[in-house]
């Protein structure tokens, strides 16, 4: 017969694990890249701030230079025109200067070189300012001539050049700084872009891996599902096939049992028949012996008397009992084989009611043996063959009342539960129990267990098992010696005619 074995794929686990490890690694790298990018962004901001700072410094220096230069124009105007407008402009400009210079000082406070330059600058500016103030105040006092003479003698232009040089120096220094800081900024920006690029690559890698993993698992799942489907589809066929085989084998056994029992019966008819004939001959012989004893006692030997009166009836008796036993055994086999041929007709059964009927039919035996039979809880309904179930249960209950533990009143309980389309019926007693070694043996034909103090041929449980099989069920026993026994019957909840052999 065709065998269908479908293996579920489990061999790609190492690959899956590697894939998973790669994914974890990818995600870890991605997180690291994120941190790096954040850090680099911080760096970049810092650099930008410094570049801006440099620009600010440059601007401040330029403003200072302009302010200083601008101071000269109103002074000269005032010197020449003595117009108070120039004086006001000069004063306003002068008042602005300290603030502008202070700003340069503030911005360059972190740079020692610039500080030195700044000191030089302030000194020069202070010098220049003193000279300017002097000329302006001379004009104010009406000493214009003196002021102009002073103007001529002063070294204003030189001093101004010096200031310009220092300012230029400072601006140059800042420009150098700017170049460096620009480079720094560019570098950090480049690093940022590199990190960003790497992160992008990792992201791509992880994405590809993820897609691969998902696809792989999906494929595995699909394959598993397909395998399961195939298995499911063929399962029914396999079951049908097996059932067919089983029922064929069963038929074979039934036929065998039937033929054997018939063929055994045939010689048995002879044995029993001729034994009866033999027994019938005893009567005329007995009469003959009696007459011989009466008419001619001398011809009657002790041997003849024993033969006719004892040996012959004894032999016939033994042959009779043995053949009768053999007849019972053969009939048991026949009954079993006939049971296998009986047409099973499933119908809904109320087990509790059935147990009640059985109880009623054997009430006298139950009372006589001092037992009680009860149904515990509700028993699920069952669709099966009434006669077969009745025979099974009555056999089990009868057995339970038969093998009680002396001195303990028998309590027999029938229970039932439903479990995944099957009904488990239990017949439990508190009797003498069955040795674990005999648990499977008790279901064999002509086999019995424990003390042989009860009449019986060892047929009941064999019959029960044959019936259980016939109904698509199984039976087993849970028991310990002296502790009672529980016979558990597992039957399909709904027996359909398809379950039975065709």
């Amino acid at each position: 017969m065709p065998e269908t074995r479908v293996k579920l794929t489990t061999n790609n686990r190492p690959i899956g694990r590697v894939l998973l490890a790669c994914m974890v690694l990818g995600f870890a790298s991605l997180i690291a890249a994120g941190f790096a990018a954040a850090w680099l962004t911080g760096q970049n901001q810092e650099h930008t701030r410094w570049v801006n700072h440099t620009y600010e410094v440059e601007l401040a220096i330029a403003q200072a230079s302009i302010a200083i230069e601008q101071g000269e124009t109103p002074r000269r105007g005032y010197l020449i025109t003595r117009s108070p407008i120039y004086l006001a402009t000069y004063r306003a400009n002068r008042a602005k200067q300290p603030e502008i210079l202070a700003r340069v000082a503030r911005l360059t406070a972190d740079n020692p070189a610039q500080r030195a330059n700044y000191a030089k600058l302030t000194m020069l500016v202070a010098d220049l300012q003193r000279q300017r103030d002097l000329t302006v105040s001379l004009v104010e006092q009406g000493r214009g001539r003196e002021a102009i003479a002073e103007f001529f003698t002063e070294t204003g232009a030189r001093r101004m050049n010096k200031i310009r040089a220092v300012a230029r120096q400072m601006a140059d220094a800042e420009r150098r700084l700017l170049t460096i800081r620009d480079a720094d900024q560019t570098r950090s920006l480049r690093a940022f872009y590199i990190v960003l690029g790497i992160a992008g690559l990792i992201l791509l890698f992880v994405a590809v891996l993820s897609v691969m993993t998902v696809m792989r698992y999906t494929r595995d799942l699909t394959r598993s599902r397909d395998s399961l489907n195939t298995l499911n589809e063929t399962l029914e066929e396999q079951v049908i096939e097996r059932t067919k085989d089983l029922s064929l084998a069963n038929d074979e056994i039934q036929r065998f049992a039937y033929i054997v029992s018939h063929d055994l019966r045939s010689p048995l008819v002879n044995v029993m028949g001729f034994t009866a004939e033999l027994a019938a001959t005893v009567t005329p012989l007995e009469e003959l012996l009696a007459r011989a004893e009466e008419i001619a006692p001398d011809i009657v030997t002790e041997e003849a008397r024993l033969a006719v009166r004892e040996d012959l009836p004894e032999a016939v008796g033994f042959i009779r009992t043995s053949t009768q036993k053999m007849d019972r055994l053969i009939n048991a086999i026949l009954k079993l084989s006939r049971e296998g041929r009986r047409v099973i007709t499933p119908e809904p059964l109320d087990i509790a009611e059935l147990v009640g009927t059985i109880k009623g039919s054997m009430q006298h035996i139950i009372d006589e043996r001092g037992a009680s039979v009860s149904v515990a809880g509700t028993i699920p309904t069952l669709t099966s063959d009434r006669l077969a179930i009745e025979q099974i249960l009555s056999n089990l209950i009868e057995n339970a009342t038969k093998y009680l533990k002396p001195g303990r009143p028998g309590v027999i309980t029938v229970t039932g539960v439903e479990e995944r389309g099957r009904v488990l019926l239990s017949v439990a007693d508190n009797g003498r129990g069955i040795d674990i070694r005999d648990h499977s043996r008790v279901f064999d034909l002509f086999r019995r267990s424990g003390t042989q103090d009860q009449p019986g041929e060892g047929i009941g449980l064999a019959h029960v098992r044959a019936l259980a099989y016939r109904l698509g069920g199984t039976i087993d026993v849970a028991s310990e010696l002296g502790e009672g026994a529980t016979f558990r019957l597992n039957l399909p909840k709904i027996l359909t005619t398809q379950d039975l052999k065709a």
Binding site: Y258, H262, D263, R265, S266, P267, L268, V269, N270, M272, G273, F274, T275, A276, E277, D327, I330, N331
Partner: protein, 147 residues
């Protein structure tokens, strides 16, 4: 059987013991017709159809047939006897066998068997059954053979 001496009983039974017990009990019922006993189907058929003193050529008969024979099935013999055109098709056949299989019984009646008796294993019943058969044989009419 009104013409006692002319109706022969043909017994086809492979078991000598059974044959003997059957004969004894038929005799006990007061039947004195001649009984021809065959233990296999081939010889029995040969006698039935071809023997000069056999029923086909020489007078009416009654057949006691066992189904379990060594060389052929009893139903085959029954089929041949009851076949269309057989000179013995009206000859009463009593199937006397151990088989009590329903289907087998049906088949025998379908083939035209006149009586089907299952041999009881218990000898008391066996003896009673055969004696009753004997009583039955003593009252039935057997048709003439059409040559």
């Amino acid at each position: 059987m009104t013409e006692h001496q002319t109706v022969g009983i043909v017994m086809i039974e492979d078991d000598e013991g059974h044959a003997r017990l059957i004969e004894k009990n038929i005799r006990r019922a007061g039947i004195s017709n001649g009984i021809r006993h065959f233990t296999d189907g081939g010889t029995a058929l040969d006698f039935l159809f071809n023997a000069p003193d056999g029923p086909a050529l020489n007078g009416p008969a009654l057949i006691l047939l066992d189904l379990n024979l060594p060389d052929m099935s009893g139903t085959d013999i029954l089929g041949k006897i009851k076949a269309e055109g057989s000179p013995l098709r009206r000859t009463p056949v009593v199937v006397l066998t151990t088989t009590d299989d329903k289907i087998e019984i049906q088949r025998c009646y379908d083939l035209g068997c006149n009586v089907y008796i299952t041999k009881p294993v218990n000898y008391e019943s066996f003896a009673t059954a055969i004696r009753q058969l004997g009583l039955f044989l003593s009252v039935i009419q057997v048709p003439e053979i059409e040559a």
